[in-house]
């Protein structure tokens, strides 16, 4: 589904050059639940952003469904993000000026779809995350857990093949974090591929595969993962 081949990423400022990722090879298969773990600053989020085409690699190749995306134009990458990926961010990134329902509709705005269908899909996504009664609220009228569930509804409304979640429980208390994790596991069980960055070992153990990053490189903690990667 997604394959990273010898991918590296370097951040440059005027004086400093930081190697964020070095020669990463990673294959994410359909229906997997992959957890990316590692200490702060090791490159987990950078890796997730590269998988989701949110950033460009310095070198190496990213293949989506077998095709390299480096030669894609802006509109093709945008189409791929819209069709294939759903994003969940640690700090939610909801648009506070828009109602919950309008936030959830956002990915569908960039598809040719009638407004009534958009509205009905957004409503269904909100029902799925248990926020059917909060459609007309504004994000800042909701708790952190509810906001993250709105973000999940927004991520799944377009029925993406892969859900990318960057520490989705990082800003939540344990109970709300648990609820969000349950939701992601449920979506994975229904067939959506999930790639999640987390610090929480307990959460990671609930996932199917753990990928560990250290100093910008992949290190495999368990033989199962290494064997899977080599396959």
């Amino acid at each position: 589904m997604i394959r990273l081949q010898n991918v590296s990423k370097t951040y440059r400022t005027d004086k400093v050059e930081t190697l964020a990722l070095k020669a990463i090879d990673l294959h994410v298969r359909p229906r997997e639940f992959v957890c990316i773990m590692g200490p702060s600053g090791c490159g987990k989020s950078t890796l997730l952003n590269l998988i989701g085409l949110m950033d460009r690699p310095g070198s190496g190749t990213i293949l989506v469904n077998g095709a390299p995306v480096s030669s894609y134009q802006d509109k093709h990458v945008a189409r791929l993000r819209n069709d294939t990926f759903g994003f969940i961010f640690q700090s939610f990134h909801l648009i506070n000026d828009l109602r919950v329902i309008d936030n959830v509709e956002l990915p569908l705005l960039y598809r040719s779809m009638s407004s009534s269908e958009r509205r009905s899909r957004a409503r269904a996504a909100l029902e799925k995350v248990g926020l059917g009664a909060r459609m007309d609220h504004y994000p800042n009228q909701l708790s952190g857990g509810q906001q993250q569930r709105v973000a999940i509804a927004r991520a799944i409304v377009g029925e993406p093949k892969i859900l990318l979640a960057d520490e989705p429980t990082g800003n939540l208390d344990s109970k709300m974090g648990e609820e969000v994790m349950d939701l992601l596991l449920q979506l994975n069980a229904e067939g959506t591929t999930v790639v999640m960055v987390t610090h929480d070992e307990r959460e990671a153990r609930r996932a199917g595969r753990i990928v560990r990053v250290f100093d910008g490189q992949l290190v495999y903690a368990d033989a199962h993962a290494e064997a899977a990667e080599a396959a």
Partner: protein, 412 residues
């Protein structure tokens, strides 16, 4: 999608009310000034109403005389003889008029004295200019031929001299002559029409004016079609070469030009003494000044908009992450700007209409009658849209090119 854009735009405007108000004020004030200036310029150079035929007449005020050998030189206004003898016989034109510059005369009425601007004209003058007659009639050929002491007043003067009474048929004394009012016309402020009262040329106290090449007259030459004007202008320059002086030892070369209203203004401003009146340069200067005047608020708007768009980098990042293309984002952000500018444009139009109405009623420019007509509205709309695009497209394009991850972090 448009609904979502409009909703977002409305929320953004309302979230930062002060910012929106500053943006709007910037646009409105600039537009008011620009539109008032354009309306006044249009009124001056391409008027409707009394000088509505200006697109097919040329006018002449200045006349230059020199001597090829002795170096004598004189520049002055036209004399009646020049118009009568050299211009009136022109072929292929509809009419040639002569009118004196307005002279200040004192009007004595019982216990008060008023100052009036009296203009002496021929009958062609009334054919070329479209005065709106409110009462009575304008001057006719018999008035001229018989030297009748009759006059036409404008509305304000009629009210001033004869408050509460019908002016037609009334008599008054001006400059030692007694005139009978035969008509009242609507007030007009255009150059050729400007006066408080009009009387036949033949009422001038002396007939000396008939023998002078230099004098206090102005001529208008009306073409049958606007397309005839270039040939008429050439003909006028040809006629200048045929002028005969009473004393060829003083002057033996005459030069004069037929100018449109804009050309006459440019010739006077640039002191041009050639066939080229300098109108193109004047128009270029006006356009550059207008662009400069627009550039300052536009730069300010760009600055404000960069701040506004940077502030929304998270939203831009989210939209990109969920599939918005750079082009769609630019369209959204520019649409917001265009909406703001159109709102500013609408307010600016109202403000400009108010400012012009105030200018008309204040008497700062006597007899000014100016409307916000369709061309001025079109200029305003165009200027507004240029504002919208200029101030939105640069920051929007810059932000839209960012990778989503950088936009989400606000790393513009």
């Amino acid at each position: 999608m448009i609904r979502n854009y409009l909703l977002t735009a409305w929320k953004v405007f309302m979230r930062r009310k002060l910012f929106t108000a500053i943006n709007l004020a910037c646009i409105v004030l600039t537009l008011i000034v620009l539109m008032v200036v354009t309306a006044l310029l249009q009124n001056a150079f391409f008027p409707t109403g009394v000088e509505g035929k200006s697109e097919r007449f040329v006018q002449m005020i200045m006349f230059q005389s020199s001597h090829t050998e002795k170096g004598g030189r004189r520049s002055g206004t036209l004399g009646y003889k020049l118009i009568e003898q050299y211009l009136k016989p022109m072929k292929g034109v509809e009419a040639v008029s002569a009118s004196a510059f307005p002279e200040s005369v004192s009007v004595y009425q019982q216990d008060r004295v008023s100052e009036l601007l009296l203009r002496r004209t021929d009958t062609e003058y009334w054919h070329i200019l479209d005065f709106k007659v409110l009462a009575g009639r304008v001057l006719n050929a018999d008035d001229l031929a018989q030297g009748r002491f009759v006059t036409v007043l404008n509305q304000t003067t009629a009210r001033k001299l004869f408050p509460g009474q019908a002016a037609v048929g009334q008599k008054f004394s001006a400059g030692g002559q007694t005139f009978t009012v035969v008509g009242v016309v609507e007030d007009a402020m255009q150059l050729n029409a400007f006066a408080d009262a009009w009387a036949p040329i033949t009422t001038l106290p002396s007939t000396e004016y008939k023998d002078k090449l230099f004098g206090q007259f102005t001529a208008m030459i009306l073409a049958r079609r606007a397309s005839d004007l270039p040939a008429i202008k050439q003909d006028i320059m040809r006629i200048a070469k045929t002028v005969q002086y009473d004393d060829p030892n003083t002057f033996n070369v005459a030069r004069f030009w037929g100018d449109s209203k804009l050309e006459l203004f440019s010739r006077t401003l640039m002191m041009s003494e050639t066939e080229d009146s300098g109108a193109a340069k004047v128009v270029a200067v006006i356009v550059v000044l207008m662009l400069l005047f627009m550039a300052l608020p536009a730069l300010n708007l760009i600055n404000l908009n960069v701040g506004r768009i940077m502030e929304r980098s998270s939203e831009i990042g989210v939209r990109k992450a969920f599939g918005a293309t750079s082009r769609q984002l630019v369209a959204q952000l520019v649409l917001e700007n265009v909406l703001l500018c159109l709102a500013g444009g609408a307010l600016g139009l109202l403000g400009a209409a108010g400012a012009l109405a105030w200018l008309e009623s204040s008497g700062l420019i006597p007899y000014l009658k100016v409307d916000l007509n369709l061309p001025v509205f079109a200029y305003g709309l165009l200027i507004t849209l240029v504002f919208g695009v200029l101030s939105g497209v640069v920051p929007a394009w810059k932000m839209s090119r960012l990778d989503p991850v950088h936009a989400l972090k606000g790393n513009a």
